[in-house]
C-alpha cells in the first residue's frame, strides 16, 4: 500500500537526527578508493569470456549510408562479428531518444553509430573498426544557431511549458523608468564525466542483462525493451556504480544497444565502451542558447516587468534548453513573460546536462540583474532582496513557496564572504598584477520529487538491508539511503546494507534533475514505515505505539531486540512513496547565493578565481558531508561554464571540433580555490516526509554568473557571451 504524501509532514522518527543530518562517510567510499567497486566495463565476475566491441561512428553529419563494406573488418584477426543496421534486425526508437542509437540508412549526426566490430581482444576490435568502409551520400545540414534562430517556433511543451505569461509584459516594460534589454549566449557544453558510457551485455536465452553505467534504471529497461522490440520482463539492467553522469546517462546510449546487439550476434557476452573522442559527438550534450532578457524596474530597482526568451536548437523531434524557467519564479513583478524557441539543427542530440534550464538561464539572468543593480545604483545583494517574492509570481499569493530562504542565503552568504568590502565601481581594486573584483549571483533550482519504491529486509540479527534500483552516480545515494533506514529502524548506520542500481529491485526515482535524494529517501522512508508496522505486528506490539530505537522495538515497558522482533526468518516489505498535489498548492524550489572574488591579470587577461563561497537552503541536509561535496563540485562546474567550457561547432562539417579532454576544457585543481559552503537551516515539511529537497544541482546554478559579475567588477568589461575567455576580456580592455 503506497504511502501517499499529500499533507505536510508532521513530527516523525527522522526528526530525531541520530543518523540523518550528521556528516557521514560514504558507505561505498572504501570500495571506491581501493578499486573494488566494479564499473560496467570491469564485470569480469559476470562475463569472464566477454568479447570486445568497438563502435564505428559516422564520418558525416547528415545524409545517407549508401553501402557498408565490412569484408576487410570481418577478415581481420580475431573479429567475430560486425553489426550494422542492415543485419541488426528490426529496431525501434524509444521516445526518450531523438536520434537513433544505430544509424542506417539515414545519418542524423556526426559520429552517430554506424557499426559495431566485435573481436576477441579490444585491440583487434579497434583495429578492425578502422577497416569498416562506409560509402556515404552526404546531405546538407543546419549547424549555426545564430542563423537558424530567426523565425524558430516555440518549442513543444516538455518537462516545462514552452511559454508563460502573467500581467502585461509589453505594457509594463514600456512604461518602466529603468530598462535592461540585453542578449546573452551560452555555448554547447559536454558532460565530461569521468567514466565513459560503457556496457557489458549478455543474453541467457531470450533474457538480456546489461551491466551498464546508467542513472535511470527503470526508464532504461523500458527503452531497451522498446528499442529491441522485446518485453520489459526480458531485460535486466545493473548499474551499482557510476563514474559520473551529469545527465548523459539518463537513457541508454549506443554502448548499451550495441553491446546487446553484439552479444546477440556472437552468442557471447560483449562489452562496449565509447572512446573518449567519440563521446562528444555520439552522445548528448547541453545545447547552446541565445537569450534575450528585458527587465523594467523603478528607480529603486523594484521589478515591474520581466521577460526572458531563449533560443536553442536540436534535431527534428527534439526539445529546447529551458533556460527561462527560473525567471518564472525567482523575482517579483506583476508583468511577466517567458518563452523557449526551438530551431532545427543537425548537430548531435541536445539533452539534459547538470541542472538543465537554470544552469544556463541564470548565467544570463544574473548578469542582467547585475546590470540593473549598477544602473539603479543599488547593491546587487540588496537588489535581490528588494525583488524577493514569497509566492509564485506567475500564479499569485494563492501559491506560496513551501519554503524560500533566499534572503537568509543572501545575507548569510554576504556576511561570510565579506561582501561589504566590495567597491561597486569597477576596476578599482588591484593586487600586484591582478585586477581584483567581486561578484555575486543567486542560485535557484526546482525541487521536484517523484514516486519511488524500496525493499526493506530486517533479519533475525537485527541487520537492515535496503534494496532499490536507485543509482549512486557519485552523489552519495548509498549513504543517505542507509542513513534513512538506520534512523527509521533505530539502528546504527553500520547495521545497514544498501544495494542499489539493479532492475530486480523496486523502482525508484533514479538520479536526475536534482530529484533523486528527496524522492528515493522518501521511498525508503515509506518502506521503513511499512517494515515497522510489519515487525510491530509480528512481535505483538500495537504498531502506533511502537518506537524503533537503539536496536530495539519499544512500547511502554516492553523492549524487544529488533532482530528478535523480526524473528528468525526476518521481515521483508516493499513499499513506495507517492506524491500528491502539494507541489501544485505550493511552489517548490531550492535557493542560494554565490559570492566570488576573481583576479584578472592586468596584461594577459587570464582569470583566476581567488575565493568562492555560497549559502544554500534546500530543506533538511541529509548528509552535510556529501551535500557539501555535491555543492563544491557544482560550483566547480560553474567555474567551468563561466571560463572555459565550450563545444566548438564547425558549421561547415557540422560537428563539435574539440572532442577530447585536452581541448574540451573543464577546470583543473589549479583553477579552483577554497570554496566555502554554508547550509541555511531549513526543514520543508511540504517537500517530503524527510522535509528534504535535492541539492545536487543547486550549486551550479548562478555560480558562473557570479564569476562574470566579478570579472566586470574587476575590469569594467561586461561580457555576455560565455565562455569568458581571455581574448574577450582583452578586446574589452583594448577598446576601453
Amino acid at each position: 500500500m503506497p504511502l501517499k504524501f499529500d499533507t505536510p509532514a508532521g513530527i516523525n522518527p527522522i526528526d530525531r537526527q541520530n543518523v540523518i543530518g550528521r556528516p557521514q562517510d560514504r558507505l561505498d567510499g572504501p570500495l571506491k578508493v581501493s578499486g573494488l567497486a566494479p564499473y560496467a566495463y570491469e564485470r569480469h565476475d559476470v562475463a569472464p569470456d566477454a568479447a570486445y566491441g568497438v563502435m564505428v561512428g559516422s564520418a558525416i553529419a547528415t545524409g545517407r549510408i549508401v553501402h557498408i563494406d565490412a569484408a576487410d573488418a570481418e577478415a581481420a584477426p580475431g573479429v567475430i562479428a560486425v553489426v550494422t543496421a542492415a543485419n541488426a534486425g528490426p529496431l525501434k526508437k524509444a521516445d526518450s531518444h531523438t536520434a537513433k542509437l544505430l544509424a542506417g540508412p539515414e545519418v542524423e549526426h556526426f559520429d552517430q553509430a554506424v557499426a559495431l566490430v566485435v573481436a576477441e581482444t579490444f585491440e583487434q576490435a579497434r583495429d578492425a573498426a578502422k577497416l569498416v568502409r562506409v560509402d556515404y551520400a552526404p546531405g546538407k545540414g543546419r549547424f549555426d544557431l545564430a542563423k537558424e534562430k530567426d523565425g524558430a517556433p516555440l518549442s513543444p511543451d516538455g518537462f516545462a511549458k514552452a511559454a508563460s505569461k502573467a500581467g502585461d509584459f509589453e505594457a509594463g516594460f514600456k512604461k518602466a523608468p529603468v530598462k535592461i534589454d540585453q542578449t546573452y549566449s551560452t555555448p554547447d557544453q559536454a558532460h565530461a564525466m569521468m567514466e565513459p558510457h560503457a556496457t557489458t551485455a549478455r543474453w541467457d536465452g531470450d533474457q538480456l542483462t546489461l551491466w551498464t553505467s546508467n542513472q535511470m534504471i527503470a526508464w532504461s529497461v523500458r527503452d531497451t525493451a522498446t528499442t529491441l522490440g522485446i518485453d520489459k520482463s526480458k531485460v535486466r539492467l545493473v548499474s551499482p556504480y557510476v563514474g559520473g553522469g551529469f545527465g548523459s546517462k539518463l537513457w541508454i546510449r549506443a554502448d548499451a544497444l550495441l553491446a546487446a546487439l553484439g552479444a546477440k550476434a556472437t552468442g557471447r557476452a560483449v562489452k562496449v565502451a565509447l572512446a573518449r573522442p567519440q563521446i562528444y559527438n555520439n552522445t548528448t550534450h547541453r545545447p547552446a542558447t541565445i537569450q534575450r532578457i528585458r527587465i523594467g524596474a523603478d528607480k529603486d530597482g523594484v521589478i515591474d516587468a520581466i521577460g526572458h526568451e531563449s533560443w536553442s536548437g536540436d534535431l527534428p523531434g527534439g526539445g529546447a534548453e529551458i533556460a527561462a524557467i527560473q525567471t518564472r519564479q525567482l523575482y517579483g513583478g506583476a508583468n511577466r513573460m517567458t518563452a523557449h524557441y526551438l530551431a532545427t539543427l543537425d548537430l548531435p542530440e541536445g539533452n539534459a546536462m547538470r541542472a538543465p534550464g537554470e544552469a544556463v538561464g541564470l548565467l544570463a539572468l544574473e548578469i542582467a540583474m547585475d546590470e540593473l543593480a549598477e544602473k539603479v545604483g543599488v547593491d546587487p545583494v540588496e537588489l535581490r532582496i528588494r525583488n524577493d517574492v514569497q509566492y509564485d509570481p506567475e500564479k499569485g499569493p494563492s501559491v506560496p513557496f513551501s519554503s524560500r530562504k533566499l534572503v537568509e542565503c543572501l545575507r548569510t552568504g554576504a556576511e561570510r564572504f565579506g561582501w561589504d568590502r566590495r567597491n561597486p565601481k569597477p576596476g578599482q581594486m588591484r593586487d600586484g598584477r591582478w585586477l581584483v573584483g567581486m561578484g555575486m549571483a543567486v542560485a535557484f533550482r526546482g525541487a521536484p520529487a517523484t514516486k519511488s519504491a524500496a525493499r526493506i529486509i530486517v533479519d533475525g540479527k537485527g541487520r537492515v538491508t535496503v534494496e532499490t534500483d536507485m543509482t549512486d552516480i557519485g552523489t552519495g545515494s548509498y549513504t543517505i539511503l542507509g542513513q534513512t533506514a538506520a534512523e527509521m529502524m533505530g539502528v546504527p548506520l553500520d547495521h545497514v546494507t544498501v544495494n542499489l542500481g539493479d532492475s530486480n529491485f523496486p523502482a525508484s526515482s533514479g538520479s536526475g534533475g536534482q530529484w533523486g535524494a528527496a524522492s528515493s529517501t522518501a521511498g525508503v522512508y515509506a518502506a521503513c514505515v511499512a517494515a515497522r508496522a510489519a515487525i510491530a505486528q509480528k512481535a505483538g506490539f500495537n504498531a502506533d505505539d511502537a518506537d524503533f530505537v537503539d536496536g530495539h522495538v519499544v512500547a511502554g515497558n516492553r523492549r524487544v531486540k529488533l532482530g528478535d522482533a523480526a524473528g528468525p526468518d526476518g521481515v521483508t516489505v516493499v513499499d513506495q512513496i507517492e506524491f500528491g498535489d502539494l507541489s501544485k498548492k505550493f511552489a517548490q524550489a531550492t535557493f542560494g547565493a554565490h559570492f566570488v572574488e576573481v583576479g584578472v591579470d592586468v596584461e594577459t587577461c587570464e582569470v583566476r578565481i581567488r575565493r568562492m563561497g555560497g549559502a544554500f537552503a534546500a530543506g533538511r541536509i541529509l548528509n552535510p558531508k556529501s551535500a557539501r561535496s555535491q555543492v563544491i563540485g557544482a560550483m566547480t562546474m560553474g567555474i567551468g561554464a563561466a571560463l572555459m567550457e565550450e563545444l566548438i561547432v564547425d558549421t561547415r562539417f557540422g560537428y563539435f571540433v574539440n572532442h577530447d579532454m585536452a581541448e574540451y576544457h573543464v577546470p583543473v585543481h589549479a583553477d579552483v580555490p577554497h570554496q566555502d559552503v554554508f547550509f541555511v537551516d531549513e526543514l520543508d515539511d511540504k517537500a517530503t516526509p524527510l522535509k528534504a529537497k535535492g541539492v545536487g544541482e543547486l550549486g551550479i546554478c548562478g555560480a558562473g554568473a557570479a564569476v562574470a559579475n566579478a570579472i566586470y567588477n574587476a575590469t569594467g568589461v561586461r561580457l555576455r557571451d560565455y565562455p569568458l575567455t581571455l581574448d574577450k576580456i582583452l578586446e574589452g580592455l583594448e577598446t576601453a
Binding site: P77, K130, D601, E606, L643, D650, R652, V657, D660
Partner: protein, 311 residues
C-alpha cells in the same frame, strides 16, 4: 592501432640502423604522444624501435661551459636538475609549464621536440589535413583556428608546435645532436631543426629518415633574469595560446615565442629594440591572422610588457 612489430635497441647507432632497415618504423621513448596517435591511426608505424634502454639519460656539463642533455632525460628530471634550475631557469620553467606531472614523468627530451601539433583537424581522420594526409587540404584555414599559428603559415597548414620546452631551447640556442644509420653524427642548430610548413607540412624537422636524436646541447649559460610566461585558457594542463621565453640581462635581451608558429618563433632583430610595442611589431611582422586568432598580437604585446616588467 594497427598491429606492429617491436624491437629494442641497445646502442644509438644500432637504433638508427634498425630504422634505416625498416622505413615504416618509429622510435618510441616515453610514448606520450605517439601511442595516442597510433590509437587514432594518425600514425601507423609498422615497426617500433624502443630506445628507452639506450644510455642517453644523463645531464652532463660540456667542455665549453655548456650542458649536454641526453635524449632520454625525462622532462621531470630535467626540470628538477640543479644545474638547469640554477643556470637555465627558463628551461626548467618552460618544462614545468607543460603537460602534467604524470606526462612529464614519461616524456623525454627528444620526444618533446618531436611532438606533433594539437590542431584539432590533425586529430580527426574524417577531416582533411595536409599534415596528416598530404594533399587532402587544410580544414583549419577556414575552420576553428583560435589557437593556431599567425606566423610562418602557408596555404597548406596553420598548425602550431605545441612544445614549451622547445621554446626555451630555441631561446638558449640549443643544438640537436643526432646519429644516423652509418654511425655519422651531426649537430643541428635548433633554429634549423623545426621546419615551417610551406607546401610540405608533414615534414616537421630536419631529421633524415632513420636519424636518431641522441642529445640536446646548450651553450654556456646566459646571465640575466630568466622568465617563461605561458598564457592559456586554464591554470594548468592546457597548451599555450602564446608563450614568451625571455632572458633579460646585462648583455642584452632575447625572446622566443610559443603558440605563434609551426616552430618556436624567434626574431633576433627584434631583440635590439626596446619596449613591448616595438618588439611585438617586429616579431609579428608579416603575421597572417584570422578573426579568431588575431588577439594573439595584442596578447603578445601585453604579455611581453608583463615579462619586461618582471625581468
Amino acid at each position: 592501432m594497427k598491429p606492429f612489430t617491436y624491437e629494442r635497441a641497445s646502442t644509438p647507432a644500432e637504433a638508427a640502423a634498425m630504422a634505416a632497415a625498416k622505413p615504416a618504423s618509429r622510435f618510441i621513448a616515453g610514448g606520450t604522444n605517439l601511442l595516442d596517435l597510433m590509437k587514432l591511426q594518425i600514425e601507423t608505424p609498422q615497426h617500433l624501435i624502443d630506445v628507452n634502454r639506450l644510455d642517453l639519460d644523463r645531464v652532463e656539463p660540456t667542455k665549453d661551459g655548456g650542458l649536454r642533455i641526453g635524449a632520454l632525460v625525462r622532462n621531470t628530471d630535467l626540470a628538477a636538475n640543479k644545474i638547469v634550475r640554477r643556470d637555465y631557469a627558463v628551461l626548467s620553467r618552460a618544462l614545468l609549464a607543460g603537460a602534467s606531472g604524470q606526462l612529464r614523468n614519461k616524456a623525454t627530451t627528444a620526444g618533446n621536440l618531436l611532438q606533433r601539433t594539437r590542431c584539432p583537424y590533425f586529430y580527426d581522420t574524417t577531416k582533411p589535413c595536409n599534415k596528416r594526409k598530404p594533399g587532402s587540404g587544410c580544414a583549419a584555414l577556414g575552420g576553428i583556428n583560435r589557437g593556431l599559428a599567425i606566423m610562418g603559415t602557408s596555404e597548406a597548414c596553420i598548425a602550431t608546435h605545441p612544445s614549451d620546452m622547445a621554446v626555451a631551447m630555441r631561446l638558449l640556442d640549443a643544438s640537436v645532436e643526432t646519429v644516423s644509420a652509418d654511425g655519422a653524427t651531426r649537430a643541428i642548430p635548433i633554429a634549423d631543426f623545426h621546419q615551417l610548413p610551406g607546401k610540405t607540412p608533414h615534414i616537421e624537422t630536419a631529421l633524415r629518415p632513420g636519424e636518431l636524436i641522441t642529445a640536446v646541447t646548450l651553450p654556456a649559460p646566459i646571465e640575466g633574469r630568466h622568465v617563461y610566461r605561458k598564457v592559456r585558457d586554464r591554470a594548468s594542463y592546457a597548451f599555450a595560446l602564446i608563450s614568451v621565453a625571455a632572458i633579460v640581462g646585462p648583455k642584452g635581451q632575447r625572446f622566443a615565442f610559443g603558440g605563434l608558429a609551426h616552430k618556436p618563433w624567434r626574431v633576433e632583430a627584434a631583440e635590439k629594440l626596446s619596449g613591448p610595442d616595438a618588439i611585438t611589431a617586429s616579431v609579428t611582422l608579416g603575421a597572417k591572422t584570422t578573426p579568431q586568432n588575431a588577439f594573439k598580437i595584442p596578447l603578445l604585446r601585453r604579455t611581453l610588457g608583463a615579462v619586461l616588467a618582471e625581468a
